[in-house]
């Protein structure tokens, strides 16, 4: 009887911005474990700090923000937090970390199918040609690969310019700055896509909350990640 009266802890303004989470009582499956979610949000906050303190360096008109060196200090703190937390995650959950990394490199026939079907699927709403997808679809794997690849590039070139400034040649320093910028452009461009798709795109509206509460509706899992859903539901024996 009480369950009839129960209302969702509703935060309409947030639902307006991020879409609605699975309705109360709706069947859900766990998509992201708590450590993964914390890793994501620590990373996101550090990324935003790195992005802002990096961008004011990119744009001479914002250059005033870099004066005095404070932005550089925050840039380095955020870099340490980001790399440190990822390392911590790797040390405390090595198995899930490794399988998470491996996921970026699992490619097959359905990924080619995704690329062919994506324009219609994401633009016009065509569903028929989209092949079933695993835990990560092709687009998510591309983003994940970019994060791993460009992230490594940022760590490498950043460390060269920070710790090895006096050891490396001037040419190596200049090229480090160049490739730090390459990584910046790659991450910025793809991050725009990432935020748009996970918050605003009508097909994924509400999926933002999966990285908050960790769960998605079984309906969404089945329609967006059929191969993964089949595995999970088989494992549960339902």
């Amino acid at each position: 009887m009480e369950t009839v009266e129960r209302k969702p802890k509703s935060t309409p303004i947030l639902h307006y911005i991020f879409g609605a989470p699975p309705a109360p009582g709706e069947d859900v499956v766990e998509r992201y474990s708590r450590p993964v979610r914390i890793l994501h949000w620590v990373n996101a906050v550090a990324w935003i700090v790195l992005f802002i303190t990096g961008l004011i360096f990119f744009v001479p008109q914002f250059g005033g923000g870099a004066v005095g060196g404070w932005s550089g200090l925050f840039h380095r703190i955020a870099a340490v937090v980001m790399v440190g937390w990822a390392a911590l995650y790797f040390v405390t959950s090595p198995r899930s970390a490794l399988s998470g990394v491996r996921e970026a490199f699992k490619w097959g026939r359905d990924d080619i199918g995704w690329m062919q079907a994506a324009p219609s699927y994401y633009m016009l709403g065509g569903e028929d040609t989209m092949p079933p997808q695993g835990h990560m679809n092709t687009g998510q794997k591309l983003w994940w690969l970019t994060v791993l690849g460009a992230g490594s590039l940022m760590i490498l070139t950043g460390a060269l310019m920070w710790f090895f400034k006096n050891i490396i040649s001037s040419g190596a320093f200049m090229w480090s700055a160049f490739f730090h910028d390459v990584g910046f452009i790659a991450l910025l461009t793809f991050a725009l896509v990432h935020v748009y798709l996970s918050v605003f795109h009508p097909r994924m509206r509400g999926i933002f909350w999966s990285m908050w509460g960790g769960e998605i509706s079984t309906k969404y899992a089945e329609s967006h990640h059929k191969k993964w859903y089949d595995e999970v539901s088989k494992g549960e024996g339902s």
């Binding site: 870099a66 016009l124 001037s170 390459v182 461009t189 896509v193 795109h201 009508p202």
Partner: protein, 267 residues
């Protein structure tokens, strides 16, 4: 306004180093404690507190072929200046009188100019550095901007007792330097006017009685390729890509919001 320049005639220089002292005096730069390294050349290198120094070069090992060469070492005030190219905050800029000026209050201490300069001139370490963040701003010769914009010569030129340093309109000094090199050619066939064409023209010109490399000057100084590709190619590409992405996503939103809503309502 006519571009200004300094003409340094190495054949008239006695390496008295009066210019070094005058530079420190006028710009209020403290002296540095150094050790005797068996040479008159001192201090050993440019620093945040030494914007100008004389380089001593010894060539030959017999009394007959021995030569002792002096060369001025300070900012060359290039027309194509690598430091201005890479400075992310526009602290470094070209003054209307031609030389490379900078606003210390805009310097973030990133040190890109230190790495980019083909003459290895700018030095980090000015401004003391903050207690927490430790930022050290860049320092280099400022062409005595405060003096020349008030009708005075730069301090180094003012003090030079032999006339090795002169100051004036760049076009006049160029003609003067060319005439001097021409007259030197009979005795010194390799005589050369350095700074006439280098990096599209330096605002410090050198009359040399030999090739630049003998004096320790780069023969064909260039803005580093990485700096050019970074600033002139990569950064516009970056803006283009980010702009295209934003545009594409906006377009997607407009189209997909209608199409996909209709589809789900049909279900």
């Amino acid at each position: 306004m006519a571009e200004k320049a300094i003409l340094y005639d190495a054949t008239k220089c006695t390496a008295c180093r009066g210019c070094q002292v005058a530079c420190k005096q006028w710009n209020d730069l403290p002296g540095e404690l150094t050790t005797n390294r068996g040479t008159y050349e001192n201090p050993p290198d440019l620093s945040a507190n030494t914007w100008l120094k004389m380089r001593f070069t010894e060539i030959g090992d017999t009394p007959d072929n021995f030569r002792w060469l002096f060369a001025r070492r300070a900012c060359m005030h290039c027309t194509d200046a690598a430091c201005v190219e890479v400075c992310p905050t526009n602290a470094l800029y070209h003054h209307e009188l031609g030389f490379v000026a900078y606003k210390r209050e805009l310097c973030s201490g990133c040190g890109y100019c230190v790495e980019a300069c083909p003459f290895d001139v700018p030095r980090s370490g000015g401004g003391g550095g903050g207690a927490v963040h430790g930022v050290r701003t860049m320092s280099k010769c400022i062409f005595c901007e405060d003096r020349i914009t008030n009708g005075e010569e730069p301090a180094c030129v003012k003090t030079c007792p032999t006339g090795a340093l002169t100051y004036g309109d760049r076009s006049d000094l160029l003609a003067e330097g060319q005439a001097r090199v021409a007259s030197l050619k009979s005795t010194y066939p390799n005589a050369y006017l350095y700074g006439e064409k280098e990096l599209n023209g330096l605002h410090v010109l050198y009359v040399l009685d030999d090739t630049p490399d003998v004096y320790g000057l780069p023969v064909n100084p260039q803005i580093p390729v990485a700096a050019t590709v970074w600033q002139d190619v990569l950064q516009p590409i970056g803006w283009g890509l980010a702009g295209l992405a934003a545009l594409g996503l906006g377009l997607n939103y407009v189209v997909a919001r209608r199409k996909i809503k209709i589809n789900s309502e049909e279900e």
